[in-house]
Symmetry: C2
Subunit: 423 residues, 2 copies
């Protein structure tokens, strides 16, 4: 790029504009002597905690995303590039982009997150989309809404029943949120709009291999969540490992379930950072990092967020949560700044647990923060306020608040367009 030749500032290249990459860029700020290039293959930062609401027609895609270059507009020393990384050369300190262009770095930060993992069954991806990107959310929304349309036109009772069966795999927060939101769509938002079917008769199944849903939460909250889901009309099926997924539906613990819509919320796999760097990873593809987030044995390379593996104070790996990514980004921005400008040695990264939340549906959620446990409406209200507050962009905050207020009062949904294109 044009400025490459003359500029002698320390160049930090950040790959990925999620919570971790963005916080790193913001932490580095506008410090003289440092210039930053942030590369992402999407033009937007995505607020993943609300993605399930896009998939279930509550919010529009643009309301949970913000252009990265717009967020970093005031950072005059930061260049944002829309592009995909093809290769990294840690020895020559360069990053090569797909379609041409090479970036020489002094420090490299990899914040590329994670994607779905189908436990060795990549062929399931076609039938059971996961929920990581806006395109995933659009695809799920399309298939959920289309299922009701197909049911209205179905020529046999059997086909109608298949269209109105929704199977969600995985009883973690994503699976619970999706199941609750689809049940709400069927039992409230769509009621009265069809003439040949009753959408409230849809079957929503939450299929979990382990003995209980929301395993990271205390048992009392798990069983509350099960009861709350049952009230919303979700059938919770625990202890049912999935054995097969195909065009007809799901096979779990030997039972064949005919379902037009199957959604994957079970496993994740870290991005190809390990492959780019030529370093070893754990089974989930995560790169092992030091307490300062540097990659062992590689100079000037840092990996953080879902792409990295670091043990917490309890010696167990830190979970793949937005708050971990966010805190690591804030830490790394500050740490690199001190290191580059003042040659300071940073203290090790320390994760501060800000609490676990999962929303189940209208008026129902669970919150756990140290010894504090909330459930029901108080947890739901806390969740809603926290998420509006955390959204990026004033306009999005206002519009999301309005949509929620409207949805809460009318029980209807504002974003129910089925795009024609097949994505």
């Amino acid at each position: 790029m044009a400025s490459e030749v003359v500029n002698r500032d320390h160049h930090v290249v950040i790959v990925g504009g999620g919570f971790d990459g963005l916080a790193t860029a913001q932490g580095l700020g506008n410090a003289p002597g440092i210039r930053v290039t942030l590369v992402d293959r999407r033009n937007h930062h995505l607020f993943q905690p609300l993605l399930y609401q896009v998939a279930t027609a509550v919010l529009s895609p643009g309301e949970v995303a913000q252009p990265i270059r717009s967020i970093l507009r005031k950072h005059r020393r930061t260049t944002v590039l829309l592009g995909e990384v093809r290769a990294v050369d840690p020895a020559g300190r360069t990053v090569t982009l797909t379609g041409g262009g090479e970036l020489a770095y002094d420090t490299l930060v990899i914040a590329t997150g994670a994607t779905h993992s189908y436990f060795g069954h990549p062929e399931w991806a076609k039938f059971a989309p996961g929920l990581k990107t806006l395109d995933d959310a659009r695809r799920i929304r399309r298939s959920v809404l289309q299922a009701f349309e197909d049911a209205e036109r179905a020529l046999s009772e059997e086909e109608r029943r298949r269209c109105l069966t929704f199977a969600i795999i995985g009883g973690g927060p994503t699976g619970v949120e999706m199941a609750g939101a689809i049940a709400g769509l069927a039992r409230q938002a769509l009621v009265g709009e069809f003439r040949n079917i009753r959408p409230e008769e849809a079957r929503v199944l939450l299929i979990e291999a382990g003995p209980r849903i929301l395993a990271p939460f205390p048992e009392t909250l798990s069983s509350y969540a099960e009861r709350a889901l049952a009230r919303l009309g979700v059938t919770v099926m625990t202890g049912r490992p999935v054995e097969n997924i195909d065009a007809d539906g799901v096979t779990a613990a030997g039972e064949v379930i005919s379902a037009a819509t199957v959604i994957w919320g079970a496993g994740v796999q870290a991005s190809p950072a390990g492959r780019w760097l030529g370093v070893e990873t754990d089974r989930a593809g995560r790169v092992r990092v030091e307490p300062d987030l540097a990659v062992e044995g590689l100079a000037h390379v840092y990996v953080l967020g879902d792409a990295s593996l670091l043990a917490g104070e309890d010696r167990r790996p830190l979970p793949g949560l937005a708050q971990v990514a966010q805190q690591q980004g804030e830490y790394l921005g500050r740490a690199l700044r001190g290191q580059i400008l003042r040659a300071e040695t940073p203290p090790p990264f320390k994760f501060r647990n800000r609490g676990n939340l999962a929303v189940i549906g209208r008026k129902a959620a669970v919150v756990q923060w140290d010894s504090v446990q909330l459930k029901g409406f108080p947890a739901f209200a806390f969740w809603a306020v926290a998420h509006v507050y955390l959204l990026v962009g004033f306009q999005n905050r206002l519009i999301v608040s309005l949509r929620w207020l409207w949805a809460y009062l009318t029980k209807r949904r504002g974003s129910r367009i089925i795009p024609e294109s097949s994505s």
Copy 2:
């Protein structure tokens, strides 16, 4: 469908949920003795007059569209089907849908609108998308925003210039609106967000074959629009028929213009209604109808809106405008009701011109209504209020008003996400 066998009510099948089809269904209402089936290949009614704002990142797709079955929810005798018509049999009075299903009708209403026409050059469609559907708008938005991203990464000055050249073909209202909105994006909304380019240096060309833009308006308003566009930074090129469009750009009146983004706003072609019915059409594919919108020589079949050809009081064909389609729908709903329930003969359809509007950009528009002419800010304000009022859905009205207020105050845009999928 299930109710087919037992129901002896008069069955009206409406194909298309645009302004015309929807107004027909609403006019038929809930009258006992009539049941209605509305078929559309999209699940939403689209407010086309604001589609250019989706294409230029002001509004989100969902904000100019509303699910048809949601609009007609209270019409208990109306069934909405998401489906595509494969064939019509006027003798046997049936409509066959793609993917199975047949509808027997007593009265058939075809309101399938129009699509782009490339004047015998269908190969141009690939390089120069038109603006008729939400998918078109998404595609154009994607290519406009991507052009700025590609310019930021361009490796040569020539390539940068090509990326920053936007050619809009056709100086009608759509072309004028698109050109003004893209110029506003470049000169205001994106300013300060790039490091290697200055988006305000983008060239926006409006290419028109005829001697002036906005030909249906009086000459004074045309020349005002030209001046207003020039102030916004648009280069208006009249008297330049387009001779070729390919991956490199446009050739117009012998001049080769290298442009990464070409947008088609020139010609339209009616939908395949004529082919379905086996009747003759004019060159633009429109079906000739009687003053009561019935197809000549075919019993119980009506065509209206952009798919139809009917002369107005001045003996010239009525133009393909939303207000014509809307008024014809309202007329036909009422007329069919009287005819079916009370065997009334309807009076001929009479178009009442409600005025012509075209918006040019921030604070600039033209309005013509009989002898009344408005331009500048008053026309802009009138346009904005009229369009919010005409939008379907309270939530959309509120959100569009908020987005406009925000865009007007900050000069920024709220819907700038580039989707990954290639549509």
